[in-house]
């Protein structure tokens, strides 16, 4: 049992560092700034980043298969603009949401199919996807379109009060749309751990040839992973329009990199095979807390990027060190496996 424990730690060391780092940052902010330490600061991480977390969870599926998807930011933006456009034209809100989600799935399936059947680089295919969706944004509307639909408004403005005590710091609010994030997170956790598809995603990232030779359905798994990524991006876009109550084609430029860095900071390997959706959410929370600290300190928001850059570097190096150590440990300790 001792051994199992040790292994567990090594597997999750990136995630562990991430959690510790988050706690340290939160503690740092609490000590340094008045009014920082509160439930509300914590909950706002979700209120402000729910769309990013949802898109990040989606892209984590692709990353685990060993691929990459950089089209998601444009998909988020397109969803926002197109929803606003349709609502303006009087399409009912539920139909709008359904339409944009289906578009998301179609984009993902198309990208996945190109990548798999034509054996193309995921980077290039999704780069093309990024340009396409961003271009379509402007085709739909060059200007920002406000959203006045009552359902969208109610999602944007209604919140649940959460009170853990009578002190001011012990209460906070969660917007309704955060529960969409929680649902996505729970479903993803279940899918990755307890379904055939989820396990195939990991197998594919571990070794595609092996996965094929073990008789797994590589094509379906890969295409589904890209479909999930784009679907989550579209859903993130819906949440983003709840958040901003407007659709604008130049929103979220470069947001795909925020999602990717959330995943990496959360312990997902870009080489595939390793990663968790919880890690991605915590990665996004770290970025959120940095953003909060930067705001409190009244710095230029670009300091957020600088800090995240440093963090990313740090995490990639840590991952490499872990991988190298694992490589060295390999083959040790199994000599007693034959009894």
């Amino acid at each position: 049992m001792e051994k199992t424990k040790k292994k567990f730690q090594i597997n999750n060391i990136s995630l562990l560092i991430t959690v510790v780092l988050f706690v340290l940052m939160f503690a740092f902010g609490s000590v340094k700034y008045d009014n920082f330490f509160s439930i509300s600061t914590f909950l706002n991480l979700f209120n402000d980043n729910a769309y990013l977390m949802i898109a990040g969870i989606g892209v984590t599926f692709v990353l685990i298969t060993g691929g990459i998807d950089i089209s998601i930011s444009s998909t988020v933006a397109f969803t926002g603009v197109f929803s606003a456009y349709l609502l303006q034209k009087g399409v009912p809100s539920f139909a709008v949401i359904l339409i944009v989600l289906v578009i998301g799935i179609i984009v993902g399936v198309a990208q996945g199919a190109l990548i798999h059947y034509f054996n193309m680089q995921p980077f290039i295919v999704t780069l093309a996807g990024q340009f396409l969706m961003r271009g379509l944004c402007v085709v739909v509307s060059e200007a920002s379109i406000p959203i006045t639909d009552p359902f969208f408004k109610s999602m944007a403005l209604n919140k649940v009060a959460i009170k853990l005590g009578s002190a001011k710091a012990a209460s906070g609010k969660l917007y309704y749309y955060v529960f969409i994030l929680l649902a996505v997170l729970l479903i993803s956790l279940y899918v990755l751990k307890y379904t055939k598809f989820g396990r195939n995603v990991y197998a594919l990232g571990g070794n595609e040839t092996s996965a094929k030779l073990m008789g797994l359905n590589v094509a379906r798994t890969k295409i589904c992973a890209y479909a999930i990524s784009s679907f989550c991006a579209a859903l993130g876009g819906v949440v983003f329009s709840f958040y901003t109550l407007a659709g604008y084609g130049l929103q979220n430029m470069g947001m795909e990199l925020d999602a990717l860095s959330s995943a990496v900071i959360g312990g997902t390997l870009l080489t595939g095979g390793v990663g968790t959706v919880v890690g991605t959410v915590i990665g996004a929370m770290i970025q959120g807390i940095i953003q909060t600290i930067v705001t409190y300190q009244n710095l230029n928001t670009w300091w957020t990027k600088v800090t995240i850059a440093a963090l990313l570097c740090f995490f990639i190096v840590v991952q490499r060190i872990i991988a190298i150590r694992a490589e060295k440990m390999k083959g040790k300790g199994e000599s007693d496996s034959y009894k």
């Binding site: 051994k3 199992t4 292994k7 597997n11 279940y190 751990k193 307890y194 379904t195 055939k196 396990r199 195939n200 990991y202 197998a203 990232g205 571990g206 070794n207 040839t209 092996s210 996965a211 094929k212 030779l213 073990m214 008789g215 797994l216 359905n217 095979g273 390793v274 694992a326 440990m329 390999k330 083959g331 300790g333 199994e334 496996s337 034959y338 009894k339």
Partner: protein, 508 residues
């Protein structure tokens, strides 16, 4: 031979890759229930291609395959598995990032009625299954925690547990120890008793005679024949496999022993004096003379490859010194070693040697290019001349030098790598397991080439796990154990027994 017992019947199978390479030409294969059937042949005989056709990795161009009297045409491994054909490949084909248990059950995980994977059952079943293989390991740990041998056993366990009628074992024993091979044979015999048909590919004739019932031989993509194992003498089998006289095979052996006398007094070329390298070899004193083949014997992990790596400048010299032609040298990198006239064919052909997507010609000039430096262009003409020269000299079997190396068989790939190093015109050549996974015919050819090179004055360091081969090639042998030098044998002292004794650490 239409009997009820027949499980798999492949008739007139042909398969070619492109126009130039005909991998299978009208071959046959039969497999009965409760039979272990060896499929033998040189490299390039078409064994792997037949397996690929049977398992759905490649589609056949023509011919028919019947399983249980029903024609099948698997389009993917999945198809083949559904039909009841399970396969274990030479290289472990599992996922290193998944747990042992999951590797066994992925694709057919036990699930509850809602489709949720039952991890408890997976882990318990995996443990139970591996127990039958005498493998007591923690099945929840990731696969890459275990050695290649254990991984191979896990792959076999996976294949056996699939509800298979036909089990294909493509050289499963090349990374297993003797004990593990015995275990595998035990399992194969049990499966045979249970009525499974096993197609077994191996390069070890001992294993063929130990465990198989029938033998089918292919040569150069063609069908030679099917025989009862008990009725086919070894010599005849070898003759059928290589399509040569057995006598000519023996000739090369004799040639090796003749070389022995002459080269003994050559001048020292390279020398290790009390060399230790951090974490690997300890206090090595090795001299290699011009015109000799020096053998390094020892079990896996005894320091054979590590010695070669130090000599080639891959690993650094910690303590002690290295001398080249009596002068002290210090190699900072392999490039220094290459420029000093040293060549090294590493052990792992696929990952350290060949570049699959380059042509034979490009693969041959690679090392020469790096020896000359980036800006000294090797003209196309010169490259062509070199390639053609070595294709002829080493008898590399290919239509032309423009073929991609990945299309060649293992033995021919090995020859290309040898050619690559010979093209740099080395004085000192190191070969680490040059004949692993290669058929006997090519093996004998390679051995003869090595001996000839030494005769022409080259110093050769030869590393092989096969004692037979070491006996044939080397006239001096250093025996290693646990990263230490434990003995040296010369000329007549060299015998299988003597080597084994030293290797095992026996006192007598």
């Amino acid at each position: 031979m239409a009997n009820d017992n027949q499980l798999l019947k492949a008739r007139n199978i042909s398969k070619s890759f492109g126009k130039a390479v005909i991998a299978l030409d009208n071959v046959q294969f039969d497999l009965n229930r409760g039979e272990i059937h060896a499929l033998l042949g040189e490299n390039g005989a078409g064994k792997s291609t037949l397996i690929k056709v049977l398992t759905g990795v490649e589609e056949r161009d023509s011919g028919t395959v019947f399983l249980n009297g029903k024609e099948i045409r698997p389009k993917s491994t999945q198809d083949a598995q559904n039909e009841g054909i399970a396969t274990v490949y030479q290289e472990v084909n599992l996922c290193p990032n998944l747990s042992v248990a999951e590797n066994i059950y992925i694709g057919r995980e036990p699930r509850n009625k809602f489709g949720k994977i039952d991890w408890k059952k997976i882990n318990a079943d995996a443990e139970e299954l591996l127990k039958r293989f005498d493998l007591h390991i923690n099945v929840t740990k990731n696969l890459d925690n275990y050695s290649v041998a254990v991984q191979q056993m896990i792959a076999i366990a996976r294949a056996c547990d699939i509800d298979a009628k036909v089990l294909i074992l493509d050289e499963p024993t090349s990374s297993l120890s003797t004990v593990e091979v015995e275990k595998l044979f035990g399992i194969m015999r049990r499966l045979r008793k249970e009525g499974m048909g096993i197609l077994f590919v191996t390069h070890f004739l001992d294993q063929v005679y130990e465990v198989t019932d029938r033998i089918t031989v292919y040569r150069n993509g063609g069908y030679v024949g099917t025989y009862q194992t008990a009725e086919l003498p070894r010599v005849e089998l070898v003759a059928k496999m290589i399509g040569k006289d057995y006598a000519s095979l023996n000739e090369s052996v004799v040639a090796g022993q003749l070389g022995e006398e002459k080269a003994a007094g050559g001048e020292e070329l390279i020398e290790l004096c009390g060399v230790s390298s951090p974490g690997t070899i300890q206090d090595f004193n090795v001299k290699v003379r011009k015109g000799e083949v020096l053998g390094l014997s020892g079990l896996l992990g005894s320091g054979r490859s590590e010695t070669a790596r130090v000599l080639f400048g891959v690993d650094s010299v910690g303590k002690g010194e290295m001398k080249l032609k009596k002068e002290k040298v210090h190699f900072k990198s392999p490039l220094d070693a290459i420029r000093s006239g040293i060549a090294f064919c590493p052990e792992n052909r696929k990952t350290e040697g060949i570049i699959g997507d380059l042509t034979i010609r490009e693969n041959i000039v690679l090392a020469l290019q790096s020896k000359r430096g980036m800006f000294q262009k090797i003209s196309k003409k010169e490259a062509e001349r070199l390639a053609d020269e070595y294709i002829e000299k080493l008898e590399i079997k290919t239509p032309d030098a423009g073929q991609l190396i990945k299309n060649l068989s293992g033995g021919n790939q090995q020859k290309v790598i040898l050619a690559r190093w010979l093209a740099t015109d080395p004085e000192f050549l190191m070969l680490d397991e040059p004949t692993r996974g290669i058929d006997i015919g090519t093996k004998a050819e390679l051995q003869k080439i090595v001996i000839d090179l030494a005769k022409q004055g080259m110093a050769v360091l030869f590393i092989s796990s096969e004692i037979d081969e070491m006996l044939r090639c080397c006239k001096r042998m250093i025996v290693l154990r646990d990263m230490r030098q434990v003995g040296e044998l010369k000329g007549k002292e060299i015998s299988e027994e003597a080597i084994m004794n030293i290797m095992a650490g026996g006192e007598k």
